[in-house]
Symmetry: D2
Subunit: 326 residues, 4 copies
Amino acid sequence: MNQKIAILCSGGDVSGMNPALKRFVEYAYARNLQPYFVRNGYEGLIDNHIVPADYHDVAGIITRGGTKIGSARSLRFKEASYRAVAAENLRSHGIDRLIVLGGDGSFRGMERFYHETGIAFCGIPSTIDNDINGTDYCLGVDTALGVIKDAIDQIRDTASSFHRAFVIETMGRDCGYLTLISAITSGAELCLIPELPVDIDDFKGCFQSQIAKGRDYFIAVVSEALDSKKVAEWFEKELGFESRVSVLGHIQRGGNPSVYDRLMAFKFVTYAIDALLEGKNHSIICYNKSHFNFKTIDEVALHPYRLDEELLNLAREQFLPTRCQM
Amino acid sequence: MNQKIAILCSGGDVSGMNPALKRFVEYAYARNLQPYFVRNGYEGLIDNHIVPADYHDVAGIITRGGTKIGSARSLRFKEASYRAVAAENLRSHGIDRLIVLGGDGSFRGMERFYHETGIAFCGIPSTIDNDINGTDYCLGVDTALGVIKDAIDQIRDTASSFHRAFVIETMGRDCGYLTLISAITSGAELCLIPELPVDIDDFKGCFQSQIAKGRDYFIAVVSEALDSKKVAEWFEKELGFESRVSVLGHIQRGGNPSVYDRLMAFKFVTYAIDALLEGKNHSIICYNKSHFNFKTIDEVALHPYRLDEELLNLAREQFLPTRCQM
Amino acid sequence: MNQKIAILCSGGDVSGMNPALKRFVEYAYARNLQPYFVRNGYEGLIDNHIVPADYHDVAGIITRGGTKIGSARSLRFKEASYRAVAAENLRSHGIDRLIVLGGDGSFRGMERFYHETGIAFCGIPSTIDNDINGTDYCLGVDTALGVIKDAIDQIRDTASSFHRAFVIETMGRDCGYLTLISAITSGAELCLIPELPVDIDDFKGCFQSQIAKGRDYFIAVVSEALDSKKVAEWFEKELGFESRVSVLGHIQRGGNPSVYDRLMAFKFVTYAIDALLEGKNHSIICYNKSHFNFKTIDEVALHPYRLDEELLNLAREQFLPTRCQM
Amino acid sequence: MNQKIAILCSGGDVSGMNPALKRFVEYAYARNLQPYFVRNGYEGLIDNHIVPADYHDVAGIITRGGTKIGSARSLRFKEASYRAVAAENLRSHGIDRLIVLGGDGSFRGMERFYHETGIAFCGIPSTIDNDINGTDYCLGVDTALGVIKDAIDQIRDTASSFHRAFVIETMGRDCGYLTLISAITSGAELCLIPELPVDIDDFKGCFQSQIAKGRDYFIAVVSEALDSKKVAEWFEKELGFESRVSVLGHIQRGGNPSVYDRLMAFKFVTYAIDALLEGKNHSIICYNKSHFNFKTIDEVALHPYRLDEELLNLAREQFLPTRCQM
C-alpha cells in the first residue's frame, strides 16, 4: 500500500502556493505517494479537513494567486490537546509526513508537533515579507515585487503629470526588503526602511536643488513600519510640494504567480518531498546562494532576519542623504 | 502661412491624454495646422509655456498613462487679469484655437475666456470619474476600470485564501459609476454607491445564510464618498468576519491606456479639430449612444451628472438587499 | 416546479464566455429558473452532456479566458437525426430554453432546431472577429484587442531598438476590424485590410521621405486574409529595411476578460434571459448604438458583415497612401 | 577634469537595457564620471554617434523594453580599419572606458579592440537566450520568460476550451533554457529541447491513457531549433487531436522590464563601473551562485553554453517519456 503525504498552508497566503500545490500532487504521484490536502492550515488538521488530492484538483491553478486550500492562523494549535487531536486525525488517514508552507512561527509549532508525535515535516518558507532568517528567498516575494512595481509605474504616470510627491507605503512588517527592492527598481527618489535610519531633513537641500533644476515630482517608497503620513507632510511643509500617500495594501499579496515563484515552488516542493523520503524528519528547506539546503528550526528562527550586506550597501550608496545627487 | 492650434490638459490627469496628444499632432499636420503644446493647463497659458509640437514629441507616448505636457488646476485663471495675460500669450504665437482635455469646471473657465477673447475652444471630457453630464463617456474611464479590475482580482486571491471580507474603496467623488461597474464586473457581493442608498443591516440575514452554506469571503466595493471603514467594522461585528479596507487610491489614475481609451482619444481629437475648423467656436464634444455630438457648456454643466437609468436598474436588480441571493 | 434553462458555447471560444456563464447561473436563480450547462456546444446536446449548474461551478471563473464548459464545432448537428436526439435529451431534462454563445453559423443551426422542436433560444454574438452583421459588438472583441495591443507594444520596443520593420498579422478572417482598430490604437505606420485595398508601392515615396527624416522602424498591421510575408519582403526590397513577420495567432483568443467584455457578458445574458421569459423564442440579441435589441436570424445572417462607415472613413483618412505624412 | 565613460548595446536587444542605461547615468555621476551614450552598437562607435548623457535622457525609461540608444550588429567592426576609426572617435571625446551590453560575440570583438587600442571595457551578458557560458544569468531572461508565461496562460485558455493540442515555439536558438523553464512553469505536458533528445512516439501510450481518463488538451513547448510543425502533425496523426502551432516570435524580446531584470541591470552596471575604476580593463561581469565575478573572454566564450545539471535533472524527471504520468 502507498505511503501518504499531506500539504498545508499556514499564516499569510502568498502567490506561489497554488503552483506548489500542483507540483505537490504531481510529484507525490511520481514518487508513488498518495497526496492529501489539509484545508485552512492547522485549523484543518484539528478539524480533520484532510482530503485526498488528485490531478483534477490542481488543473489550471498554476495561474492563480493565493491558495486553493486556504490558509489560516491557528490559536488552538498552540495547545497540546488540540495538537493531539490533529495527530489523531492524520494517523486516521495513515499520513505521517507533512509539507508546510508558512513562516517561522508556523515551523516552530510544527517542530513541537514533530517531537510530540513523530510526524515528520518539511517547511517551505513562504511570505512576501522575505523576513525569514536562514534563507535568501521566501516563496511569493517576486510576485509581490511585481505587483508593487506595476502600482508604482502607474502612480509615476500621474505623479509626473501633476507635479506631486507620492509616498508609497509597502508591506514587509519590520523588514525593509520589499520596500528597498521596490525603491531601487522603480527609480524612486526616496526610500525609507527600518534598517537604514536617516534624518529626512538631510534631504531637503538636495531636493530643493533638484527642484530648482526642474524636478517636478517625487516618488518615495516607505516601509509600513514607518510613518508614511509624516513623510507626505514633510514634502508639503518643507518643499511646498502637494503630496499624497498611497498605501498599497493587500493587492501586494495576490496576482498571477511570476515565473520565478512558479519555478521556486516547483523546486521547493520537489526537494522537500525528496528530503522527507530520505529521512529528513523535521527541517526547513532554505535557498542560499542558488543552492537548496535543509536547516533546523533553530537555525532559521533563533535569530531575526537581517537584510544581506550587499543589498544594504547598495541601499546606503543610493538612498543615504549624503549620496543624494543634486 | 499655416493656422495654429494648441492643446492643454486641465484638472486631474487621466490615462488616454497621451494618445490624444499623439493624435493631436498628427491630425493637426494632416489638416495643415501647426500644433502647439501648452504645459500644465491654464497655468501654462498664463506663464507662456506654449511650444510648437512635432512628431518627435509624441513618439512612443501612446503606451503611457498620465500626460506628457502636464496638467494642473489653476486658481489664477479665475481672475480676469490673468486670463488677459493668457490671451495675449496665445495671440503672440498666432494661436486662436484650443483643445482642452478636462472636466466641466475647466470648460466653464474656457467658455468665459472665449467670450472675452474670441479664442475658440473645443472641450474633450476627461475624467476617470465619468461624472460629466451630457456625455456617456469621459476619456480615461476604461483604463481606470481596468486597473481597478486587476486590483480586485488580486485582492480576491487573498480574500478567498484567508476567509476575509475585503472592503475596496474606489474613486469617483460623488459619482458611483466606477464603483458600480467595478462591482458588477468583479463579481462583488456588495456594492455601495451614493445613488443607491441601502441599509447595510438588511444584508445581514442573506449573508449569514450564505456563510452557513459555505461562503468564506466577501468582496465589497464602496464609493469614496461613503464610509468604507464603517463597512469593514460591520463585517467584523455583525458577521464575525475578519475584514480589511483597501483604498485603491492613485493607481486608478495611471496605467498603459486601454484600447478603448486610445480609440476614444483618437476620435475625440479628430472630431474636435474638425469642429473647430468648421466654425464651432465654443463647444464640448460629447459621446452619446455611439455618436459624437457637440454641446454648449450649459448643456453639459448646468445639470449634475446622473447615472443612466439602465445601469441603475442593473444595480438595483443586483445589489439591493431584497435581491441578495441566499 | 422550476422552469429550466440551459447555456452552451458554439464555435471559436472567446474571452468573456466565463463571465457570461457566471451571470447566467446567478440571473437564472434570480429569475427562479434552474440553470443547466451543456458541454462542448451542440456535441454536448447530442451526447447528453447536460448538467445542472450551481453557484459553486462559477466561483472565480470571471477572471479566466476561454469557456469552462468547452466549445466545439459540430458536424453532426447539421443532420436532422442528431438534432432529434439533441431535442430528446433536452426534453428529458425538462429544458425548453437555450442561450447560445456563438457566431451566425451557430445561430442558423439553432433556428432550424427551433422550428423543428419548438425549443426556444436566444443567441449572443460571440467572436473576436467582430464580423457578425447586425450587431456593433460581439463578445470577446475588446479582450482580443487588448491582447493584440500588449503584443504590439512589446514588439515596438524591439523594433525601435533594432531599426526594423515589423509586420504583425492579426486574426479576423475576412474582416479587418481587429486589424484596423489595432493599427489605429497602436500607432502603426501601415494598416492593410481587405476592406481598404491599396497598392503598397504607393507608400514608397512617403516612407523613403520619413526614413530620410530619421524614421528608423515601421510597424505594419496586416489582416490574416492578406499576405503578410509579401509585405515584409516589400520592406526589405523596396526600402532596404530588415523586416520580420509576427503572426500573433492564438494568444488573441485568450486572456483575463476585460472590464468591457465582463460588462457586456453581464448585460447580454441578463437581457437574453429576460427576452426568453417574455416569449421571444428565436432571436439574436444585438447591440447597436449603445442599445440592446433582438433580431431574427435573417436580419443577422443574410447579409455579410461590413465595417461601419465612420470607421472606414477614419481608416481612409489615416491609412491611404495619399494621407501618408512625409 | 572628469573622466569619461560610455555605454553601448550590441546584438539583439533585451528588456533590461533601459534600466541599465538609467543606472549607468546615475552611477557614473555618483562616481564622478561623465557618462556618454553610443548609438546603435559598434556602428555608432564607427560613425561617431557618441553623445554625453544626462539624467534627463533616462527619465521614465525604466519601464520600457528594448533600448533607447538602439542596438545593432556590425560587420564593419570586424575590420581593423573601422575599429581604428572607432578608437579615434572615442579618443576625440576623451573616453577610455566602455560598458558593453551584448553577447559573447560582441565581447570577443571588444577584446580585440582592447588589445589594439587599450580602451578598457566591461561586458554585461545580455540575451534572452541565456546561452552565454560562464554566467548563470543574462540580462533580459526573466522578462522574456514572463512574456512567454503570459502568452502560454492565454493559449491554455483557448486550448482547454476547444480540446486542442497547442505546440508553442519559443526562442533560445540552440539553447533550451527559455523553453524548459517555460514548460515547467506553465505546466506543459510536453517539452522538447535540443539538450534532451526524445523519441516523441514514446509518449503515445501515456498520452492515450491520459485522453482515456479525460485529458482534453495538450500544451507542448518546443525550442525554435526543433521542428514544431512536425510535433503538431504528430498530435493530429497519432492522437487524433486537432492541433495548432503558435510561434511566439518577437513579443518575447519586449515588455516592461521585470523587477528581477531591473535589479540585475542595477547591479550589473554598478559593479561593472566599479570594476573599470579598479583597473579591470577587459572583463565580463558574470553572475554565479548569487555572486558577481569577473571573467576573461576565454572563460566565457571558449566553451559553448550548457544547461546546468540541476535543471537538466528536473527536465529529465519531468519530461522524459518514462516519467510521463498516466
